[in-house]
Amino acid sequence: MAEYKQIHKVEVEKKPFKLTKKMIALLVIAIVLVVGVITAYIVTADKDGYTSSVQNSSSEVISGDVSVTKKGLYEYLLDNYGANEVLNEAYNKITAKEITDKDAINTKVKELKQRYAEYSGSFETYAKNQGYSDAKTFEKEVVVPEAKSDLLEEKYLDTKFNDVCKNYNVSYLKIVEYSKESEALKALKTVTSADAMTALMNANTSSATDLGFVCSKSSTTTVDKKIIKALSKFTSLKTDGVYKEAVKLSTGKYAVVYVYNTDKTAQKDDIVKNLLNLGDVKTDIESYYLKKYKFTVEDEKVKKQIKKISDKYVD
């Protein structure tokens, strides 16, 4: 019996629904895929899991008394060294683009090889100690990328020298400490020139220190934190001279602070050398280039690990 349904006053024949073999096959595929999607979602949505994987990850790489899969080994390696390795590989791509002067690279490589040879007696021994039986492979895989990375840091500090000096409050300081503020202020008035400061330091050798290069990233174990906090005041001096106030130190003492080498350009090499020794500055430079080259970590777990090294590397 045919049934009829009225739609817009047009009478149409309503056919009974009948599954064809083709439809059943498609339905089965759809169900399988949906189950797959849900399973994959459960697996990858696990906050502790990696979303990246190696090829043939489920393959067994060791059998016998123990079974080890490539996936398990890959993830263990990531747990221990993944964040650093991913950063290295990304940074290598950036340095390859930024640093192309072969002569400069060769010179830097030579310099690094010489340094490593001094550490271990010979470059070959150093390479061997690092797990490379072939020194040439070590040079290619480790030393050349390191040389490029060093050159990139130098390039950054060279091209952004003025900004860097300003941002890190680069200063050269000499200080003489006094127990009483009144003593410090009295001494401060005598410092009318560089020679006067030298004379003051010579007269107070046990409490006088030439701090030399100081910046906002200097270690508080070598420079009093109150001096570091006041650096912006010292950098406001355009010419060499004594800072107008006695600075109260964290020890409770008072310091007469003499600012010198205020012509930063004349000290460029020394400033660059000092900045390159500071880990925080290196991190800032690396994060600058990683951002410039749109560094994006696709694997959320690796991203979290990189953030633990420094949250400046990833957004």
Binding site: A30, V54, Q55, G72, E89, A90, Y293, E298, V302
Partner: protein, 321 residues
């Protein structure tokens, strides 16, 4: 119409499925990307497994899997780990007090790299699994291991008498008198063990006639009693009694009961979790590992694990030179 809807659902599922496995390019999984190119999972893996650190990590991972398979966690191990944890907590309690011990304990754990107490407990359980693997090796290779132990750790049987002092730099008359009495008795020929039983203030050894049992160069007597006691223990010959030694919290007199290889070998034959043969050699694990049937199906993994084992055995050989 129905067929079209099903086809659309299939397509959507395929798209969703491809999105769930993380980013891929040309079938290769991408860990990170820059405008200059991608960092692929395969490249990260290949680089890591070829470094020294990666080789050690590969060995450690395979070892962990081996331990978990051959010596799975038992309820006894869990109980033992709980007891160990309680004992550590109690020692913290006595040192830092009921109110602040937990904070100190957690802070120390964090400094040691543990995020939580439960993570530390897992590590304790793992150490018991690890000990089981070494224990099995020692039991099945007892003669070889003991020979090496005897040469490397100079074991001997030591007994002690302790006279406690409230202040070692300023002993009381009573403390001095007790020491003199002990010296007199030993001089008169009274048996060392009997004097220890009657006069020693060391609660751990007194009832065993002063016997410390087998001590070796890894026993760390310096930590427990002081450096003078450690030095003396290893300079005494069999049957010799030491002079009065000044320790961290009292006076000590030591006697070396035996250095005889066969006697000590017999004493240590029963291998328990406390056996010094399990702990005297950090690199024994590489020997134990080599006794298992490890079938490598991947050349890179084989190279990495074998290199780590070779390095471990090389370091062991260096120590014995």
């Amino acid at each position: 119409m129905k067929a079209k809807k099903i086809a659309a659902l299939c397509l959507a599922s395929v798209l969703l499925l491809s999105g769930c496995g993380g980013k891929t390019v040309d079938g290769k999984s991408v860990v990170a990307s820059t405008s200059e190119g991608n960092v692929y999972a395969d490249d990260v893996y290949d680089t890591l497994i070829s470094t020294n650190a990666g080789k050690s990590a590969a060995f450690q991972y395979v070892l962990d899997q081996l331990i978990n398979k051959q010596y799975p966690v038992t309820s006894d191990m869990k109980d033992n780990a709980s007891d160990m944890l309680d004992s550590i907590k109690n020692s913290y309690k006595s040192q830092y007090g009921e109110d602040s011990y937990e904070k100190q304990f957690k802070s120390d754990l964090k400094s040691a790299g543990y995020e939580s107490v439960s993570e530390y407990k897992k590590k304790l359980i793992y150490s018991l699994q690890y000990a089981e693997l070494v224990k099995h090796y020692v039991k099945t290779h007892y003669d070889t291991v003991f020979d090496d132990y005897y040469k490397a750790a100079t074991p001997r049987v030591i007994s002690m008498i302790k006279i406690s002092t409230s202040d070692i730099s300023n002993p009381t008359d009573a403390e001095k008198e007790k020491l003199e009495e002990v010296q007199e008795l030993l001089k008169d020929g009274k048996n060392f063990g009997d004097v220890a039983k009657d006069y020693s203030d060391d609660s751990d050894t007194k009832s065993a006639k002063g016997s410390l049992g087998v001590v070796d160069t890894t026993s760390n007597l310096t930590n427990s009693y002081g450096s003078a006691i450690n030095e003396s223990a290893f300079s005494l010959t069999e049957g010799q009694t030491s002079d009065v030694l000044t320790g961290t919290d009292g006076y000590y007199i030591l006697k070396c009961t035996s250095t005889n290889k066969e006697k000590i070998k017999k004493k240590l034959k029963n291998i328990t979790i406390q056996s010094p043969l399990l702990t005297y050699d950090d690199n024994i694990i590489y020997l134990a590992f080599n006794t298992y049937d490890i079938k490598y199906k991947d050349a890179k993994v084989k190279k990495a694990v074998k290199a780590a084992v070779k390095e471990g055995l090389k370091a062991r050989a260096e120590e014995r030179k």
